[in-house]
């Protein structure tokens, strides 16, 4: 915001217009914060607003001095720059508003460009180098691009610009789920819809898990994408989906530019097996004897399902626990069968216990007494941030060899 205000003030000063910084800032804030206008757009709007107030017609954009940058130096949106670059790729425009789009590059990197139809600029040729004058930078989900509009110019260069190798992340690439390792990458996936969950927000039309032979990942299909519904158990080629990350876990998002087509062949899904050893540091609320909604299986809170209202509910026994090895935490879900054998109590006994105490929480309390502070090794498939526990076993007692090894390490540590 500060930088934008400075930029505006400088631009106004060029036109001999002096405006207090706080007026510029409040105007910017109004646009950006209250009305959600992108910063680049707001900058332009604010400049024009103040020029107009001072009776100056907006200067032709070409007259504005734009700086000459390298592709690798582009680090914020809404900047007017000159670029010397080579056309590395040309893509099919997705809209008639775009006359050309693709990748341009110099020795510092490559960047997407969009040439608007309205710009009425001549077409560029693949492999040729150009001086692109007065183009504006833009950003979407962490990736930058440059836009060529009416005030931009294109001049072919006599000498060729060396373009850097196209970064893998710069274009859409088909990946395996396990290869997803960074957010904001546009990728294609061949995957099967493993599970559909109830969307937690109206902005989401579908969410759940998709999987391939390398793993599973959460997906979100935005309502705004206006894409048709996916069917659980079906396999699809997902096109141009974008990766996202939250607390170290990845997901893919389907938005307006994404697409999918059904696949003839079914994709084999191998769930990601995980193993974790640590101390149980929490037996969370929702552990023990719970009631589930008979319709959607979700846990009832005080007899009420978030989706289906008041329900009689069916009993279940489960554990939601947190394991911790001092370096990281791992949440685990333990189903009824394994809970019964782990804590040595049947669901019927748990019901009796709860009935006698007039409180379901006694079951969780008892589970806590057995598990808290103890060390276990768990394994099973991972879903979202949980391991669905298939095996759980206490860590064996420390043996002398383990202690000896550490003692040796302690001798050498400093």
């Amino acid at each position: 915001m500060k930088a934008a205000v400075e930029q505006i003030l400088a631009r106004l000063r060029d036109q001999k217009v002096d405006v207090p910084a706080d007026e510029v800032e409040s105007r910017m804030r109004l646009l950006v914060e209250k009305f959600g206008v992108p910063e680049g757009e707001a900058t332009r709007s604010v400049v024009n607003y103040f020029l107009k107030e001072h009776g100056i017609a907006p200067a032709p954009f070409a007259a504005r001095k734009s700086e000459c940058l390298k592709v690798g130096e582009i680090n914020n949106p809404g900047r007017w720059i000159d670029l010397e670059a080579k056309v590395v790729e040309l893509w099919e425009p997705t809209s008639s508003a775009i006359s050309q789009t693709g990748l341009i590059g110099d020795e510092t990197g490559t960047i997407k460009f969009v040439k608007w139809t309205k710009s009425e600029l001549p077409d560029m040729e693949l492999g040729k180098s150009y001086l692109l004058k007065n183009v504006v930078t833009d950003e979407f989900q962490g990736r930058f691009s440059v836009k060529l509009n009416r005030t931009s110019g294109i001049e072919e260069l006599a000498s060729e610009v060396e373009a850097a190798e196209v970064q893998a992340g710069g274009q859409v690439q088909e990946m395996k789920i396990s290869e997803i390792s960074e957010p904001a990458r546009w990728i294609d996936l061949r995957a099967k819809v493993v599970q559909l969950w109830d969307p937690t927000s109206e902005a989401i039309s579908q969410t759940g898990l998709i999987g391939d032979d390398s793993g599973v990942i959460k997906f979100v299909k935005w309502a705004k994408s206006e894409l048709p519904d996916l069917v659980e158990g079906e396999s699809y080629l997902f096109k141009n989906v974008v990766t996202d990350e939250f607390e170290g876990r990845f997901s893919v998002k389907l938005n307006r530019t994404s697409g999918f087509e059904p696949l003839e062949e079914a994709i084999e899904v191998s769930p990601q097996e995980a193993k974790f050893t640590g101390a149980i540091v929490d037996v969370q609320k929702g552990s023990g004897l719970i009631k589930r909604c008979p319709v959607c299986r979700r846990m009832l809170t005080k007899g009420i399902c978030g989706e289906h209202g008041k329900q009689e509910g069916t009993y279940d026994l489960r554990i939601k626990a947190v394991l911790d090895d001092g370096l990281k935490v791992q949440e685990v879900l333990i189903n009824r069968e394994r809970t019964e054998s782990l804590v040595g109590i049947s669901m019927e006994e748990a019901k009796t216990m709860a009935m006698e105490a007039l409180d379901h929480e006694v079951v969780r309390g008892m589970i806590g007494e057995i598990l808290l502070g103890r060390y276990y090794t768990v394994s099973g498939p991972t879903v979202d941030r949980y391991i669905l526990v298939e095996t759980i076993s206490p860590v064996p007692p420390v043996n002398a060899q383990e202690a000896d090894l550490l003692a040796e390490r302690a001798e050498e540590v400093i």
């Binding site: 935490v329 808290l372 420390v398 302690a410 540590v413």
Partner: protein
Amino acid sequence: MAGFAREVARRIFASELRDSDLSFRENEDQYAPLYLITPTGARCNRVLLVGTLTEKDNLGDDVEYWRGRVADPTGSIFVYAGQYQPDAAQALSGTEPPAFVAVVGKPSVYETEDGTRLISVRAESIQRVDADTRDRWVLESAARTLDRLEAFKAFLEMGGSDAFSSGDELLKKPPAPEDVADIGKAHLHYSPDLERYRQMVVKALFALKGEISEPRSEAADSKAERRKAGSGRSGTAWDEEAFGGGPEEREEDTGDIEDLEGPFNFDEDEGSGEVGGIEEEEVFFGGRGKAAPKKSRGR
């Protein structure tokens, strides 16, 4: 808003925890997590302690407010549980010392009027456990402490805080940047004697070896048989060094420290001597009173 990352429960020996008094929030927000940086550079918002509950008291009047002392092979630390930690308070009130307990909680630093900083743990949960669990924790805490010592040593070899401030060296051999920052903080604040913490680990492992080389039949007998481990003498032995050798005396009754001196012996059998050790240590810390100890440096 969708969740937040749960803080890891760090493994810090009581002795190191007791030496810690550097706490900070990452930003000004009152809800920002509070972190403690220990002398070896662990950043903790939560800890897991497994040791011996050696004493417990209800300090509250109308509302119960429990304080317990938990000892590991290196020292001991106070653990508090009040009305806002009902499960932990109930567990503490219902556990007769000595007993092995696992405590998950948040370290908190309290500053007395004279500027002395005292550390304790506000328990989230307290649970009775067995000796095997305690042994596993000692091993694990030793390993984590060695990890930190190794990282600290690497940090110093890179040029310590100079490299830290310039950042140049860090780029060449990058451990997780956050860890480096934490070690940098610890280095500036404590200038720790790493050898002392190495010794602490050595002693903990020595104690552990003494434990596990015992015939297991004895151990399996009853929980009572296991009580001796980690409590009393082994705990105080380290305290005595930590405090007797420290540059600042935190307590006025330095005379009592001498009372704690004795052979360093983890295999010591249960007996009156050990109990005596605990009681003397109680004098040493005694009179601190309520959760918010206020004492003046009345020398």
